[in-house]
Every structure is written in structure tokens, then in C-alpha cells.
Amino acid sequence: MISVVKRIMKIIKSDVKVYVGTLIFILLLIFALISFLAPSWHKAWYFLPRDQLPQLSSDPTYWLGTTTNGRSVFWSLARATLNSLIIGLVAATLAAHIGLILGILAGLRSGVIGAIIMMLADVFITIPPLPLHVVLVTIFKEYISLPLLGLIFVIPSSWAWPARQIRALVTSLREREFILTSLLSGNTTRRILLNEIFPYTFGWHLVNFLNTVLFAIGSEAGLAILGLSLMREDTLGMMIYWIIYFNPLYRGIWWWVIPPIVVLILIFVSLYLISTGLQDYFNLRFKR
């Protein structure tokens, strides 16, 4: 256990990009977790005076001012960050791993199973994502809650492309010599998988995972703008929805508009830095 942690720390410190990225991400996480300290009334509308400028005080409620519907920007944003990160992580974990597993399967077993998986992947790639999301959300809207939101609409559209890429990677690896050698020396498929293929795909998989997190958060935002997300929950997408609904942008209420955009940018920047940094790390590592 400790050695794994040590390994991770080494990776993080190895590249300045990964270091900075992780730092930003951890700060965001802390901010998101602060939302658990939010007062019980933070969801109520018209509780606080409307459209108040940010004020520095001991109570974080006013640090980012209030919205047109009388809520605290600070607490809504903290909760929104938390919920969006949850959506992103849940969706990405499932989608990326489904893609990975199916891709490897298709790559190793290139017979009927592989063909079926690839056919399914192609089908899902051809279906345009936004309309698919709209349809799925319309169908499941009444029955879903927060973490399931990510499952429902992101997975169908984001497992296919990684599966295809991984399969391509695996098939090309399969033909490389060291696999052949491994096979000849008597390793079972499982061991080949673990020892030879997995390290190669791991790097790609991690990067893909991070990208899917961003894709999920972005998709939720896109759907929320159309009013199809969960009205009652705070997510970054819903914050954008209310920003469009109440139009603080044209009324000069900048303290409601800028913070969620900054958070979105920070999430993206941190994950982007980590993923490019890791890309370098894995590339270097395997070149040796």
C-alpha cells in the first residue's frame, strides 16, 4: 500500500505539470468538500437579499455575493463543484473502464466476439451524442438522481471511441515480437494481459479517463442549459442555466457569472495538466 502511495508521489513530483495540476485539483476538491459545511438553508430561494456584491466577512456566505434568486454564490458554487465532480468521476470511471475492457476483449479475441463489439462501438460512434443525450434524459428524467445522471447519458456515447482506440492498440501490440516471445515461453493470456499489454494501455487509459471526466461535466452543462438537468440540485451546469435564465451577464452582476466559469476552467486546466504530464511520463518510461 505504502509503496503504491510512494510511487504516486514520485510520479507527481517528477513533472512540474503534473505537480501543478494535482495541486489545483486538490484545492478544488477541498472547495467542493467545504460544501458539506453549508448551512441548512443554503438551497432556499429568496432567503438572502438579492444581487448583493461580494463582501469579506467571517461568514463565507457573502464572499462571492448573492444571486438574483437570493442564494449565496459561495455555497452554491461549492456544492455545484462537488456535484459536477461526482458526475464526472462516476461517468468517467464506468465509461472508461467499460471501454477499456471491451476494447481489450475485442483486441485479443478477434473472432466473432471482437466483431460484434466493434460493430456495437461503430453504431454508438455514429449516433450523434447531443441528440442521444436529449433523448435519454427525456426518457429517464423523472427517475434519475444525481450520480445516475452521469451513467445514463454519458456512458452510451463515451465508451465506444476508447474501446476502438484500445482495440487498435491491442491488435498492434499483439503483433509485436515481445508478445510472441511471451506466448512461446508459455505465458497464459491472462498473464500477457497483465504484464505486457496493460502497462501500455494504462497510460492511454488514464488520459482517456481524465478526458471523459471533462466530457461528462461538459455534457451535463450542455444539457442543463437546455433545462434538461436536475433542477433542484446544484451542478456547474445548473448554475449556468440559472445564469442564462436570470441574465446577470447583461445586468452587470459579474460575481455570479465569473466564479463558475473560473471553476470550470480550473477543473479543465488541472486535469489537462495532469493528463499531458502523465502522457510524457508514460512515454518516457517506456522508451527506456
Binding site: M119, L120, D122, V123, I125, T126, I127, P128, L130, P131, L132, V134, V135, L136, T138, I139, L214, G218, A221, G222, I225, L226, I240, I243, I244, L249, Y250, V257, I261, L264, I265, I267, F268, V269, Y272, T276, Q279, D280, N283, L284, K287
Partner: protein, 333 residues
């Protein structure tokens, strides 16, 4: 012989994929809970048209019949499938009885025009800038990448609203509405100028977000991957001019996956760009598709999505077939 066999197999997969996608979409759409009949009746009543309750009951039945919404699902499926081959989807429901083909045809040129042009421009611009900016040490590269990374996650709707506020309101360079002034039956210069003027802002917003965001970032990361390769480092050690390295090594390796991505992007333009159309009041298929889904209009939804499916499948087919021409490594296999 082998290539013909491969070619043949590829075409079969093409047809099969389209059929499967169509079926899957059809099945999913059956579960959309909205009913166009109820929408219509609600709109008649909220518009205060005087209907007595008996008339409403009968009207409902009549509408279900008229729209062909009764009946067995399997029958419906085969009916749709039959007509799909001719790209014939019957009457739309949100604009009954106007055929789906007609309302799609009205908007197709707009969508294809705007999205294909902007896709190509963003692709070229994004890739070139991305490759040029992949140099880690230069300050400009880093600034450019920093700007791109900051610009990309800004929600498109807000970005578009800001652009509109600056360029259509504060400094009124561009009209607030997209499209063309079809006041005269033939296109005059006046019309063309207006068309260009009104398309610039939406095009600009797409190019900035897509080109400077997506294509730029993906190509610069791909370029960085190339820079980690041994042959790249070797080429530097050998003293090759950086221009040559750029052209022969970086660009070539970056372009190949990007071409695949461009193909897919071009194939996918048939589902329109919903947010662009809504914010810029630009005619297109995205908004039509959106209203069709929410209105429970299966023929129109199927129509537009089928176009998109065919587009993407055709794009992948073409790509697969010409890939050997582009990538010598594949040719040998």
C-alpha cells in the same frame, strides 16, 4: 484479391452499421414520453379556442389516427425501414402534414454550409497553430496553449452571448440575426453580403472554440507525443533543420489521426449545432432536431438522425478506404 475481399467486407459493415444504428435509434425513440397529440391539444386550449369537452375527446382520437400513431410497433418499424431506403420519412408531426424531407431540405444547406466550412477552417488553423505551438520552451507557445486551455472550458452559450454583446450591440458590426434576406426571388449581391455578414459571428465563435480550443489542444498534445519519440530526438541530433523536422516528422504523424477525427466531425455535421443556432438565430437542423425530439415527432427525429448516421458511416468508410494511401505503414499489411 485480398483487397477486393476487404473492400467488400467493409461495404457490408457499412450497411450493417447503418441498419443497426437506425434500429437502435428507433427503439430508443419509442420510449420518449412526449406525445405530439397532447402538445397540440394543450396549445389549442391554452390559446383559448373554445372546445367543448366532447369535441376534445373526439379530436384526440382523430389526431392519433391522422398522425399514424396507433398500431403495432413492428409494423411501424418495417414501414419506416422500407421508406428509409428511399430516404423517405413520411410526414413530420411538428409541422404536419409537411413531409420530413421538405423541412430538412429547407435547413440542410445552412447547416452543411456553415458547419463544413467552419470545420475545415478550424481544423487547418487549429492543427497548424497546434503543431507550431508544441515547442515547449518558447514563451509564445506556452502563452498560446495557456490561452487555449483557458478558453476551451468556457461554456459555449456564455461565450457566444459575450461575443454578441460586443460585436452586435456595443460595436454593431454584425446583425443580430443569421440567415439571408430572401426578399428577392434570386440571390443578389445585397443578399450575399448580408449572408456573409450574418454568418461571420457564428462562424467565428465556432472557429475559436473548436479550432483554437479542440483542434489546437489535440494537435499540440499529439505533437508533443511525437517529440518524445526516439526518431525525433535522433533527427534533432542529426542536425536536421527544424522546418524539415516539422514537415516530415511532426506534421505527418499528427495529421493522420487528425484526419480521422476530421472525417468523423464532417460526417457528424448533419445533426446540426443546436446552441449555435439558438443563440445566433441561425437556421439549421440542430434546433429542428431538438424540437422534434421534445415534441415526440419520431419521423423527423429519425430523418435527421439517419442523415447523421449515414454521414458518419460514410465518412469512416471513406477514411478506411483511403487510409492506406495516407499511411504507408498500413499499406504494407
Amino acid at each position: 484479391m485480398k483487397t477486393i475481399y476487404y473492400f467488400f467486407l467493409r461495404i457490408i459493415t457499412f450497411i450493417l452499421t447503418i441498419l443497426l444504428s437506425f434500429t437502435l435509434i428507433f427503439i430508443i425513440l419509442q420510449f420518449v414520453p412526449a406525445s405530439i397529440v397532447e402538445l397540440l391539444i394543450a396549445s389549442y386550449r391554452s390559446k383559448g379556442q373554445y372546445y367543448d369537452p366532447k369535441a376534445i375527446i373526439e379530436l384526440r382520437e382523430r389526431l392519433y389516427e391522422l398522425f399514424g400513431l396507433g398500431g403495432n410497433i413492428v409494423d411501424q418499424y418495417f414501414r419506416f425501414l422500407n421508406r428509409f431506403v428511399l430516404l423517405e420519412f413520411g410526414s413530420s408531426l411538428i409541422a404536419f402534414p409537411t413531409p420530413v424531407k421538405e423541412i430538412i431540405a429547407l435547413r440542410l444547406p445552412w447547416t452543411v454550409g456553415l458547419l463544413s466550412i467552419t470545420a475545415i477552417i478550424s481544423w487547418i488553423m487549429g492543427n497548424i497553430l497546434g503543431v507550431l505551438a508544441s515547442e515547449r520552451s518558447s514563451a509564445i507557445s506556452r502563452t498560446l496553449r495557456a490561452i487555449a486551455v483557458t478558453l476551451y472550458p468556457i461554456p459555449y452559450y456564455i461565450f457566444a452571448l459575450v461575443l454578441i454583446f460586443i460585436f452586435s450591440y456595443l460595436i454593431p458590426l454584425f446583425p443580430l440575426i443569421g440567415g439571408i434576406t430572401t426578399v428577392s426571388p434570386s440571390l443578389t449581391i445585397y443578399d450575399m453580403v448580408y449572408l456573409i455578414k450574418s454568418s461571420i459571428l457564428p462562424a467565428l465563435s465556432i472557429i475559436i472554440v473548436s479550432g483554437f480550443g479542440w483542434w489546437f489542444l489535440s494537435s499540440s498534445s499529439l505533437a508533443q507525443v511525437v517529440q518524445n519519440e526516439d526518431f525525433y530526438k535522433f533527427a534533432i541530433l542529426r542536425g536536421l533543420s527544424s522546418n524539415l523536422i516539422l514537415k516530415r516528422y511532426t506534421l505527418r504523424n499528427v495529421i493522420l489521426p487528425q484526419i480521422t477525427a476530421l472525417g468523423l466531425a464532417l460526417g457528424g455535421i448533419f445533426s446540426g449545432a443546436l446552441l449555435v443556432e439558438v443563440v445566433f438565430a441561425y437556421p439549421g437542423l440542430g434546433y429542428l432536431l431538438y424540437r422534434a425530439i421534445l415534441g415526440g415527432d419520431i419521423p423527423t427525429t429519425l430523418g435527421i438522425l439517419s442523415l447523421s448516421v449515414i454521414g458518419v458511416s460514410a465518412a469512416t468508410l471513406i477514411l478506411d478506404l483511403i487510409y492506406p494511401l495516407l499511411d504507408p505503414r498500413v499499406r504494407h499489411r
